[in-house]
Structures are given as structure tokens and as C-alpha cells.
Amino acid sequence: MTEVTANDTLSTDGRIRCDACPVMCYIKPGLSGACDRYANEDGVLIRVDPHVILNRPGTQEVVRFLENGADWDGNILAPAPVVTAIGAGTTYPDYKPAPFIVSSKIQGVDMVTVVTEGIFSYCGAKIKIDTDRHLGLERSIVRAAGEPVGHVMTSEYGSQMLSLGGVHHLTGSGKKQGRVTCETLLSLCNGGAVELTIDDGARVVVQANAAPIINGEPEQRMRVGCGSATIGMFAKQWHGHVDDVVVVDDHITGVLSEHQAGKLLGMAETGIRIQGRRSTPGRYFEVADPGTGWGGTDISDPLSILGAFDKKHARPGIRFLMVSTTGEHAAYYELDDSLRPREKAMPDQLAASVALIAENCEPALCSVLFMAGAGGSLRSGVTTNPVRLTKSVREALTKVTCGGAPVYLWPGGGITFMVDVSLLPKNAFGYVPTPALVAPVEFSLRLNDYERLGGHVAELRSMASILSQP
């Protein structure tokens, strides 16, 4: 199956209008269009072709649909096919030439594409989970089905990072761990959902291009910014409608009246006191423990981060808003005669500002990058002189793709690459019981460069013969 890049529009009841052809079918979820080729899988247009060419081991052809915004020339016969390695098979340990060494002419230059499926023991997935909720401390073990499959890396802006797989989990720590790690990577790379648990942390369901589900709750939004940034962005809209605003955030909680933004607007002190470690004026670290409550903290009652109001500045009737960095949580208070906060119905102006925070948050998604090294024995399937392939990749004479998708090549030695798994056709990855992942990899270069680096020129086959192979 292939994820389709054709434009599709999603309507409110989940129907997709498919524009892969002029019939323009409306396709309901779980059903396919008139062609039986394009279907609606949970609101995403996919190709379900039991495609004669695509599914047959040996000859895999993915024809990209109007790549780079090019106009269709009306040609129905194979518009500029891209040969990918998906299903190409492999010749591990690669002492034989790769299964397909394809020659084709592109703009008058003889191009060679060496198509193989690499078996990768040195591989893994880097996961970015858009959430500010606390998933686990750095270096905490990440488990699938109870087995260690990776660890928590850093927090990035609005996201938590995990590293899964790698050779130590795959082959270095016992059969069961290897098998579970391999299954986890395979499922994630093929677009599946996987439940992970983090030691002393959260339980999270991860799926490429889907919202993470943290402790059973689907994450909705990324935070608009840290608490301090949120103050900076919305200070003007609060000014005049409220005496103070606290933006609750696990990283930096912001307080409008003390913050530089509030000072510039001439806001008066309110006597509010935050229980946390003050960084700079109006910015507080560690107001609570990390968790899955307000703004990525563990609190459900925002007043629990406030100390008693300072009688020097506070007065009855002081109005203040407490809001999280996603706008998901918000409450409005006024001080009573004993200077204690009493929750009141939120004025419309403030409710609008909370909605604006929410609107400015991007949808939370998980992204999965497959990372592997193709610098080993796989190279000898391409050339008799492996290091020359590495060098030609370095010199950008050889283009590396993974299932037709662009890759990011790491600087330094070897051919270590990362690819966004959502750009590959579905189920492009496989596995061997080693355990190791099988991933498609293609090397494309000019014919004369290929000869120069000692390529298996005798194995060259024409694009036409590949396409016509049954």
C-alpha cells in the first residue's frame, strides 16, 4: 500500500473527495473509490492497489503523482517512474550485486539507480512527541511489552524526544529484547501505533503523524510557547481587562505584572506570590513537579502554586487569570476581603484571549525518523570498491534515497542517514529474524561516475525491462 500525495479534501463527516482522477469520488471512511485503488483510511487517502507491479517481489515501481508540482502531461503510460528498493530483495551479506541496477536516461544523462534492501542491525528510530507533559526524565528506559527498547533523550521546544532501537537493544541484550525492539521499530516505521511505557514516567501511544496518547489521553496541542513567551505574546490583549495573569508552565511560569512586558505596559504590582525558583523578574522555574496536568506540571488546582498575597500590594477586588500554555486549562479569580482568591465566571474578553492561545497552538503530532548506517557491507552490492561509494555520496555525486524518499545524511564517516518514515509508502519496511530491520535504499548516480567507482556495470538493466518484468 502506498500513501498518496494527491490532493484530497476532508469533509466534516470524514468523507474524502479524491482527486486522483476526474471521477472525483467522495469516499467514506473504510471504503474505496470507484477504482478500488484509492481508499479512505481514517480520513487519509491511501492507495490500496493490490497492484500487480507494486506488490510483486522483484519489480517495484512507485509512480509519483505530480511530483514537484509538475503538470501532468496527459500521458497514461508510465509517467517518469521512480524505481524504489521496496520489495527489491537483498543479497545480504552483499557479496553479490544488488538485485536491481537500473539504467535510465534522465534529461539526456545516463543515470544508474542501484536498488537494494539493506538489512540494518545498526538502526533505530528517533521519535519527536509534541507535548509539554512530562513523559520521563532524561535517560529513563523506554519499554515496549515490558522490554527495554530505548530511552528518553532531551526536551526540545514543545516536544519530548525518544531514541528507540539501536544495535544494543536489537542484538546486544538477549533474544526477547531484540525481538520486541525489532517489532516496535518495524511497526513504527510502517506507520503503526505502538504503546511505550517510560520508567517512572508516562505511558504513551506513539504513531507517526498521529497525536500522541499520553496516559490514555490524546494530546491535542503543542504549547504556544513557554509561560514567559506566552506573557510576551498576549500582554497587550490582557492589559486593561485584568490586573494580573499567571501562565502556568512546567518549564518557565510567567507572571504578567512582574514580567518585562507588564512593566512596559505600566502594570501595577498585585502582591501575587509564586512558589517556585525565580529566574528573572516574572519568570519562575519549578513551580511544581512535571506531570500531565496544567502546562505540563502535575497540578490540577492552579492555586496550589500561589503563596499568600503580599498585603503591601494586594487589595480586595484584584482580578487575575491563570492559564496554561496551551489554553487547555484556564480559570479566573478575584481577591475577597481577606485577600483570598475566589474563582469567578470568566469575562468574555479573557475567554477570548484563552481561545487565542489555543488557536495559536499547533496540533500535537508524533514524528518518527528512521536512522541507519548504510556504510557497511551493503556497499559491496553496489560497487567492487566500497569506500568509493561512500566518497561519491560525500561528494554529492551519488544521491541516496530510502524508498524514494529524501534522506538527511549525517556528516562524518560512513553513510548514516535519517528519513521521515511518513514519506515512504506504507509497509516499506521489513525484518529478518537476526533480528534486524530491512529497509529500502537506493543509490542514484551518473553512469560514468558509476563505472569510475567500480560499479557492477555488467549487471545493468534497462528501466524498460524492469517495468515490463512480470
Binding site: 468523507r15 486522483a20 482522477c21 476526474p22 471521477v23 472525483m24 469520488c25 467522495y26 469516499i27 467514506k28 471504503l31 473509490g33 470507484a34 477504482c35 478500488d36 485503488r37 500487480v52 496527459g74 497514461i76 503510460l77 515490463s468 518484468q469 512480470p470
Partner: protein
Amino acid sequence: MLDDGRLHLQDGPIDLLIEAWGDAASIRLAYMAASDRMLTVLDELCGELLALRAPAAAGRTFTGQVACRMHKAVHPHAKNFITPMAAVAGAVADDVLAAMRAAAPLTRAYVNNGGDIALYLAPGESFRAGLVDRPDQPRLFAKAIIKAGDGVGGIATSGWRGRSFSLGIADAVTVLAASAASADAAATMIANAADLPGHEAVTRLPATQLDPASDLGPRLVTRGEGRLTTQEITAALEAGARQARRLIAAGLIKSAALHVQGQSCVVPYQDEMLMAEIQYA
């Protein structure tokens, strides 16, 4: 081109497997004509799609060649509910075959549009066509031998398990007729007639619930079947066979083979020549 010399053309829901016989130059010309014809077929059809999805009615006129073929094929059935879409697959096959024949002299040729086949036989030639009773579990249950002079230019199969919706419960109805469009329309009508109205073992859903743009509108289409008794199957087959005999008598089709849950029925079964045409494997 496929390795075995067949031509595979595809555009949207149209999926053609084409094979022609003759001298090499003629085959080449015919294949070029077929792909040229395919360039615009779908756009032409989509230009008139709304009218083609409306119930067939006399006096309606269409612009496209394929649309005209569809209209002509369904028109004789118009006293029952039918839309020109019932003949779309066959009409496309007929049209592409006509383009190929106009381009070069051929001895034999067929255009197979997802099971609805237009075929041409020069005098003295014949075809053996395999018949499948369950499109979702392809296996040959019979072969039809078609000879030049039999008056058969089209073979089409319809049934609820196939790609299009059916109002009836036949797994498959295969029809031999003068053109693929006629066979297509007739197969649809016979499959619709092979029915046990209101039977509780048959699951039906409004067509528009499955495909909002379906030409069948809110009519109930078959989506599943529980086990039926032998008597029930016979009754459904007989209802379809009655419709098939009417169409044969009207000169619209040559013969039909009907299948419901493993039981089959061929009409006209008295006719020796047609018994010879459809032989059970």
C-alpha cells in the same frame, strides 16, 4: 507493455488489459490507437457524469462516443430502473476495441476492462474465455469457447461481490452479447433480478451510504449473505434466469450463466449450440 505482449492501460477507475493478434506492425498500430483513445476517454465521461448517473430515458442525447454507447446499451432496459453507468465498463472496452480495429487489420483482439471484455474475431478464429464465479476468490469454474460468427462481441460479469453494487444476490452473472456494453447492461439487470426480496439472511445498505455519488441513489444494495437453503438459491437463480430468457427472446443477449452460493444455471439450457459454448471445467 507487459512482458507477455499484452498492453496494460490505466486511468482512474479504468483498467484495461489488451491483446491483439496480427502482424507485428498492425499490433503496434492497434496498441498505439488504444493508448491514444485512452487519453481522453475518462475526461469525456466525467464531462457528462451527472447525466450518465441519471436513470435511462428515451430521447436523452449524449456527446461522447462512450456515453452514446452506454445510452444505447441501457436504453432497451429503461422500463426498469437502470442508468447508463450500468454499461460504462463494457462501453469503454467496446470503444477502445473499435479504435484498435480502425487503426489496423487484426485477426483477433480483446479489451478486458476489469472483467468486462470486448472482443473481435476475424472469420475462422475463436477465443476460449475462462469464467469466474466469485470475483473475490478468482478461480475458473467454466470456459466459454467463442467462435467468429457466433455473434458474440462482448462478455460481461456482474454480481454483488464484484466492483459495482448489485440490487440482487447473485455472486456473479456472466453474459455473452453482441457488444461488451450490451453484455454489461444485461448482466447488471439479470444480477438485480436474481434476488430474494426481503430475505433476512441478506444484508443490504442504501447505495448512497456507501458511495454518496452512487447512481443507485438510496436503493438497497447487497453487502453480505448468510447461508441460503437449496430451495432459496434455486428460487433466486430462477428469478434471474427468467430475466435472462426475456433478454434472449428480445435479441439483446446470446446467453447467460448465473451463480448463487455455489449453484449455477445457464440459459438457454435447451439450446445445444450455447450449451457447447459454455462448458463447465
